[in-house]
């Protein structure tokens, strides 16, 4: 028996997460909750034998004793309201919107830091794809400025993502600083409507001050990519990281070099086709956090029992 969980939000992200939870031994999905009984996500949930209520957060209030974690895949505006309700009910929230009501978690960087937090934030798909890169670079050198550009296929960006594009850029920028360790971070998001759809692309630029060990930067970025591949198999460096010579008049001062990391993410193809790596990296990261919480609770319970 795994930890009982529910997903609220039956759009692209919520539905993709449902397929991943189906395969989890540590988490048991009880319900995919939506607000439109006719939505594709709820229909699929019913087909798989899950409860698929369409009364939103009210279902959670009415069934509070049946779930311990709620994955919120609605939108930033809606999660602000949900966060309060879930906190009052004592249910842990794993927030897949850029609302940022709790600490930000990027699994390869700080998976174990917030396992007892009542609300954790999964940043954004672009943040999941890039903050770890900055994290390893900032272990080697001071990074006065870092930047990421995330381009996703139009078809993979649902209405929530589109309404939240400003939250995306602000939340991701903050994550580059708080988790990536850059003194200043900037995030850019682009939607590309090309047909056939493009794979999710992310580019990271880090300003490298004088005296940076370039070989160490390249090696650590490559090692980090392998760590992400453990739970997002489709994550890969498109090219070996390149060091370009400036000078570059970056915020925080002129630097002689920058490293450019070109990342491509192919999705697992759970709900959307493989081009939607942005859905995959987000839901895979959220699943990893949920599972780590489940293990943590089992361990804490057995420690208490021993005492």
């Amino acid at each position: 028996m795994g930890l009982p969980v529910a997903i609220i939000g039956s759009g692209n992200i919520g539905t993709d997460l449902m397929y991943k939870l189906q395969r989890s031994d540590l988490l048991d999905l009880v319900a995919l909750i939506g607000i439109d009984a006719d939505s594709d996500g709820l229909r699929r949930a019913r087909d798989l034998g899950y409860e698929a209520p369409s009364n939103g957060i009210d279902w959670v209030t009415e069934n509070a004793d049946r779930v311990q974690i709620v994955f919120d895949a609605t939108s930033a505006y809606v999660h602000v309201r949900h966060a309060k309700v879930l906190a009052e009910l004592g249910i842990t929230a794993i927030d897949l919107t850029p609302a940022c009501r709790g600490p930000k978690v990027i699994p390869t960087v700080n998976l174990h830091q917030h396992l007892d937090a009542p609300n954790v934030n999964m940043v954004t798909c672009g943040g999941q794809a890039t903050a770890a890169t900055m994290g390893v670079v900032s272990q080697i050198t001071r990074v006065p400025y870092a930047e990421m550009i995330s381009t996703v296929a139009s078809l993979s960006a649902g209405p929530g993502t589109r309404q939240n594009i400003d939250e995306f850029t602000r939340t991701t920028s903050a994550a580059l600083e708080e988790i990536g360790g850059a003194e200043r971070g900037k995030a850019i998001m682009i939607l590309n409507p090309a047909d056939p759809p493009i794979l999710m692309r992310n580019t990271v630029f880090c300003a490298l001050p004088e005296g940076t060990a370039h070989d160490a930067v390249i090696a650590s970025v490559q090692k980090m990519a392998e760590a992400v591949q453990e739970f997002v198999p489709g994550y890969r460096l498109k090219q070996e990281p390149v060091i370009e010579s400036g000078p570059f008049n970056a915020p925080g001062g002129v630097v002689p070099h920058r490293v450019v990391v070109l990342i491509e993410v192919t999705g697992a193809g759970d709900y959307f086709p493989p081009y939607a790596g942005n859905l995959d990296i987000m839901t895979a990261a959220a699943l990893r956090v949920g599972e780590a919480m489940a293990v943590h609770r089992i361990e804490s319970a057995s420690k208490e029992a021993q005492a």
Binding site: P159, I188, P193, N249, L262
Partner: protein, 368 residues
Amino acid sequence: MTATISTPGTPAFRLTDSTLRDGSHALMHQYTEEQVIDIVRGLDSAGVPVIEISHGDGLGGSSFNYGFSAVDEKKLVARAVEATTNAKIAVLMIPGIGTINDLREVAEMGVQVARIATHCTEADVSEQHIKLVKQLGMEAVGLLMLGHSTTPEELLKQALKMQSYGADVIYTMDSAGAMTTDDARARIGTLVNGLDIPVGLHAHNNLSLAVANSMAALSEGALHLDGCSAGLGAGAGNCPTEILVAVCDKSGIPTGVDTLRVLDVAEEIVRPMMPRQQVIDRAGLLLGYAGVYGSFLLHAERAAERYGVSQADILIELGRRKVVGGQEDMIIDVAVELARQHAERENALEALDESGPLAWTGHIEEKR
């Protein structure tokens, strides 16, 4: 010069000059405060009603990806607001690059027009920004970029979304300078017929059609046009403000702008600060022909130098990949890829040189 020339009457359209925004690409975003003051004063005294200023990629565009501004754009906006007497100061903002915080800041500073730009099929990312612009009491102009790349009908569908969010004006932007005059007519005509609000065209000159397309847009009912002094702009450059005004004047179309004064601005203020004159060379024409974003030109030139590959090859590959505005990072991706392929070819040839004759003999002996 004291003489003035202009066709009297209520202007047939509203001219927005973008020398200080789209023109910024050609200067690699290195405008100084003095240059901004000179250009704003010149355009304002010539009677240009709206002057746009921002980083070339809009508010928040200063970055590794698009080039860092030499001077903080908010400082430049402040100088523009101070320098103008009659002209309204406008900014451009692309959701995903700039943020609502940028819009709040410039509204405080006295900016009156905010132009919110999205790729021509992605209008719904502009909802929160257009609504905020209206709340802040500014005029909201919706811009649909790379307008050649979709059908007039789809363009109208997207424009209707922006209209529903509260936009006061809708433009289509020929960001790659890829529209023939028929293309421009079809798009402007469809927008004019389908919308309740005024329509505009932002033209580029890659096919040498910027002025012609702007005039065609007027005859289809456009009420807004963009220009840049001396054509200063991304790629092959924009619709030259002074030529547009002169052609209108000659056609008896009132613009409210003094033709001779606006010529002076181009000749005496803008041309001396241009790093190169705005010509349609091979790369510029290729952009229009392949439908690639004009602002990619200089970035592609630099990447070609850095990686020892051909600029034309980069531009053609970008066209093949159907990149949209903002994807300048793909220029590095393509350049690195081309350099790698190049190196692999060289290595293969070398290997062939070294082992070639021997392997060849062996092959023949085997046959025997």
